[in-house]
């Protein structure tokens, strides 16, 4: 169940980030509401997962799914640049974040 919470939290984070793109493109209210709802649901599920998993582990998996998924989704769906420099930099950042969270208590 804990892992389902984390997967759900990661998916809601991706929705929240995607809605930033929708707001910028469309300038209507609904994406703003979905940014709040997406991140709200994501943090809520993350906090549920943290009741049974160590905080660092939960945070690392959450970042791994959510931030990596958001970056990939941006390239595939919103046609954000996918040059080698950008791919390597994003991979370096996300690997370091996951590493730091995993060694945290």
């Amino acid at each position: 169940m804990t892992w389902l919470y984390l997967i759900g939290a990661g998916i809601f984070e991706m929705i929240g980030v995607s809605m930033i793109n929708e707001w910028i493109q469309k300038r209507v209210v609904w994406p703003l509401l979905l940014i709040a709802a997406g991140f709200g649901a994501s943090f809520f599920l993350l906090s549920l997962a943290m009741q049974t998993l160590p905080m660092g582990t939960a945070y690392a998996v959450w970042t791994g799914i959510g931030a990596t998924g958001s970056a990939l989704f941006g390239m595939l769906w919103y046609k954000e640049p996918a040059n080698t420099g950008r791919l390597i930099s994003i991979a370096l950042i996300l690997a370091s974040v996951v590493g730091l969270k995993l060694i945290a208590p």
Binding site: I93, V97, I103, A104
Partner: protein
């Protein structure tokens, strides 16, 4: 312009991450809530100048550097060399992303950052 917004968004993120962990009084919780709203406000503004994926990954990266460093300085987390290695990897990645996004903009012909 976009990068200033990313840095400000991440600074507020660091505040609310600390707030979520350590807030005890009503005022501290109110401040945490304000920091959450402001960090997303600046994150969204950053997305107007940069690819949203770039600003979000940089936001997460800078926020993690800040919380890791402040945890060691103010909240009693031990210093470990491996943390320093990850922080340098993060800085390299963020610098790389900054360079890559600058180049992508120039290629699009819109110039500037």
């Amino acid at each position: 312009m976009g990068w200033i917004n990313v840095v400000v968004a991440a600074a507020f993120e660091i505040l609310w991450v600390i707030g979520l962990k350590h807030a005890s009084s009503g005022w501290e919780w109110a401040g945490t809530l304000v920091a959450i709203v402001l960090s997303f406000f600046f994150l969204i503004r950053a997305g107007e100048h940069l690819p949203v994926g770039t600003s979000y990954v940089a936001f997460v990266g800078i926020g993690t550097i800040g919380t890791t460093v402040l945890d060691m300085i103010f909240f009693g987390q031990p210093f470990e060399w491996i943390k320093l290695v990850f922080i340098f990897m993060l800085i390299a990645g963020i610098a790389g992303l900054h360079t890559a996004s600058g180049r992508a903009k120039v290629n699009e012909g819109s110039g500037g950052q």
